[in-house]
Structures are given as C-alpha cells and as structure tokens.
C-alpha cells in the first residue's frame, strides 16, 4: 500500500514514546509525519527543541498554508488546531478547544482522514483523555490504517482504550512494533 502520510496523536505519557519513534526514522524517511500532541497552550517554545534532540528528521511547527513535504516531521503548534487541507497544505484554526484541547487530536485526524482517505496511517499513543478516539475512527472509516499503542504498555491507557472502543483498530502494537511497522513503509 502506498501511504501518503503518518499522523500520530498522544497526550500524557506519550512524550518518551514519540521520542523513541521519531529517533528511529531515518533522515530520508519517505512520508511526512504529523504529530498532534497535547501541550500547554501558553508555552509556545521548547517542545520542538526537546523532540529534535534525538530526531534525524527535521521537526517543524508549520505556519498556516505551508505545504506538507516528505522528510519532515510536523508538530501541531500551541493553541492552534492543525488541519490538513486539499492540495496537501496545512491550515491552522483558533476554533474552540475540543475535548479541552487545542490542538485537538480528533480535529487533526478528521481533516487528515478526509484528505488522505486510505493513504493515511493513524496512530494513537498513551493519553489521559478520549481526544483522538473519534479521530482514529474517522481514519478507519475513510479506509486508512489504524494503530494504537498497546494499552498494557501505555503510561496512561485512556486514549488508546477509548480508540479501541470507538473503532475496530487494525493493530495494537508495542512501541517497538510501531517503529518496525513505520520502517517497513520506507
């Protein structure tokens, strides 16, 4: 299957997992990786820097209307929702918080699912609320591939369990198997 993008959502307990995943991806990884992680909305700086320490791919917080390119990791910026638009571009939104979150994982996943359809891999990691569950369902309903981190491995399994309740996910993987799977797409 030719995928066009990978989108990853996570919250409490996901930082180390995300760090492990992105550290394993080579600098020439052939897909854009979109990260929507819950974060303090008034802290704008520091997150990209922290994630970048071990990453071989450049990590950026996209500006509104930036093109989505392969070989990059995109992090949803603080206090904005991040959408994927037709024409393979990002857009940002200051609409109300969803599930107490801005960025909201559900909203990023909805827009990515709508635009990439079956050519999207959606992954939900550790987290303490249900944001992301409906998003992952929309990936599944649009024909994309859905993965959740094994709840037994999650520091906080609420988000992954909610996702598994919301839809029939394709894979429940440990962090290591998530990495292996992503590398198999390269």
């Amino acid at each position: 299957m030719d995928y066009k993008a990978v989108i990853i959502g996570g919250s409490a307990g996901s930082f180390q997992v995300v760090t492990k995943i992105i550290a394993s991806l080579p600098s020439n990884y052939p897909l854009p990786v979109i990260l929507c992680l819950h974060r303090l909305k008034h802290v704008r700086s520091g997150f990209v820097e922290a994630l970048s320490i071990k990453s071989q791919m450049p990590i950026v917080e996209p500006n509104d209307k930036d093109a989505i390119k392969t070989g990059k990791i995109y992090l949803a910026p603080a206090n904005y929702h991040l959408y994927v638009e037709l024409g393979n571009k990002f857009s940002l939104s200051t609409e109300d918080s969803v599930n107490h979150s801005r960025p909201s994982i559900d909203l990023s996943f909805f827009s990515a699912a709508y635009n990439y359809k079956k050519k999207l891999v959606g992954i939900i990691l550790s987290g303490a609320n249900k944001d992301g569950a409906l998003g992952l369902k929309s990936v599944k309903d649009s024909g994309g591939l859905t993965i959740v981190q094994d709840p037994n491995e999650c520091q906080v399994p609420t988000m992954t369990l909610a996702s598994m309740n919301a839809t029939n996910v394709d894979h429940v993987f440990s962090t290591k198997r998530i990495v292996d799977f992503l590398l198999s797409l390269a």
Partner: protein
C-alpha cells in the same frame, strides 16, 4: 459532526451567496465544513437539504447566521509575549507621531480590542493613538461596547494571560461581575471608531501606522489571502507595522515581499521604504 462532503459544502456556500450576498467561496474548506456543521447543530437541522431550504427561504436571519459562522474563540492577551513587545517597543514609537492610527480589521469579539486598549491605557497612550475597529456584525459591536459579557471561564484565561504579561495592575480592576458574566470597563473603548467594513469586499482607508490582524487569514484560501494582504499593505504608512498570528506568515504571498519581518517570534512585519 464534521462529515459534510465537498458537494454539500459547496451547495451551502452557493445558497448563502444567493440568499444573503455573502461570499464564502474563498474560505478554507475544513473550517467551513466545521462551521456549517456547527450551524446545523445550532439551528437543530440534521439534513443538508433542509438547511439549504431554510436559508433560501430566509428562515434564518442574516445576523444570526453571521454570528454563528464567525469564529469567536480568541483570548484576551493571547500570546502575552507579543503584547509585552508591543507595549514596550512599538506603541511608544507609534505614539510619538500625533494622530497615529491603529486598525483592527475583522474583529469578532472584544478580545483584541480590549487587550489593545488596556495596553494603551497603561502606557498612557490611549489619548494619543486613534483606534479603528472593524467588525462585520452589528450585534457584536453592541456587545463589545457593553463590555463584552464574558463567560467567567474565558475571563480567567484572559486574566492568566494578563498576569503572564505582568500587567501593571490586578486585572480585576478592568472588569466587574454581573450575574454569571464579566463586563470589561467599556470606558476603554469609548473613543474607538467602529465600522462594519469588510476588508475582503471593500477598499480600506489608508495611513494606518499599525494593523493588528491576527489569526483571521488562516480562514482564507490563497487567492483571498493574497488579495487581502495587498489591501493591508496598501493601508499602511511607509514604515507601518502589520501584526499577524504567531504561526502566520506572508511567505506565501507575492505582495508580502513589500513587508519586512522585524520580529520573527511574534510575526511583526514592517512596510518597506521603497
């Protein structure tokens, strides 16, 4: 929620244009799909065809539609570091010229306006700098002039932002509680010049020293973004400033080359002397 297809979305856009003369064709699709879903929920309509019929029969008032369509979720003093920068560096510079004007095009709430007016008051520039605020909805203007009628939760966010900015006073001095709402001191906006000018449709006035236009163009597609940036640039004096949201850029615009990025973190641009 959020399952409107493109065909349905375009049908609604066309109907709104036919019925109200409001052209939404140049707005970003994801945002419109979400706003239309929101509107249908708000008016308790579940079928797109019913929604279209309600609009074309004028069963939904224009002001009501406009109000619910607009995104109204900024914050007082959103990005405190920007407001600190503005009040320490930019407002004093602008205030040196008698009759300087600052323009806020396209506000939908009092958030940006009250943040500006509190800042001008605390820098003792409120009587020196003229402020023009454009808001497409008359209802919203009335609400702003009454002090905003803020939900307490929203006021808490504003208060926290103000504290981060280390404002000069306790923020509570700027508002009072009536029932379950907070009203900002409306004497702050008594000299503000309000209009319901729509920058996407009409050519604006000129000679503004600063335009604060944050997180509005994120709702536009590229052609409308380009057109509006041209008007914004035209409206500024040479050396005038354009303040955008911190994740907005003029990089995607041709006419944006007339502007120089003078503060990258806060996205403050300055019109070049050419």
């Amino acid at each position: 929620m959020n399952n409107l297809g493109i065909v349905d979305t375009k049908k609604i856009i066309a109907t709104i244009n036919d019925s109200y003369g409001l052209n939404l064709a140049d707005y970003s699709l994801t945002t419109l799909r979400r706003r239309f879903s929101h509107l249908m929920g708000f008016f308790s309509i579940s079928l797109v065809d019913d929604f279209v019929q309600q609009i074309s029969r004028n069963n939904i008032g224009y002001q009501e539609l406009l109000d619910e369509l607009m995104i109204d979720s900024t914050e007082l003093f959103r990005d405190p570091s920007l407001w600190r920068e503005l009040r320490e560096k930019y407002f004093p510079e602008i205030g040196k010229t008698v009759g300087s004007k600052i323009w806020l095009p396209g506000i939908t709430s009092g958030d940006e306006l009250f943040s500006l007016m509190v800042s001008l008051k605390e820098t003792e520039l409120i009587d020196k700098i003229r402020v023009v605020a454009s808001c497409p909805s008359n209802r919203r203007v009335v609400k702003i002039k009454e002090g905003g009628a803020y939900d307490l939760k929203k006021m808490e966010i504003g208060e926290a932002n103000y504290t981060r900015l280390s404002g000069k006073f306790e923020f509570s001095k700027y508002y009072e509680l009536k029932g379950n709402k907070a009203f900002l001191d409306n004497s702050l906006v008594k000299n503000v010049e309000f209009d319901n000018f729509n920058i996407s449709q009409v050519m604006p006035n000129k000679n503004y020293r600063m335009i604060i236009f944050r997180n509005i163009m994120i709702q536009y597609n590229l052609p409308l973004y380009e057109k509006v940036i041209r008007r914004l640039v035209d409206s500024l004096t040479i050396g005038g400033y354009l303040v955008l949201g911190n994740k907005e850029t003029l990089d995607h615009s041709e006419v944006g080359k007339k502007m120089q990025l003078v503060n990258e973190t806060e996205k403050i641009y300055r019109k070049r002397i050419d």
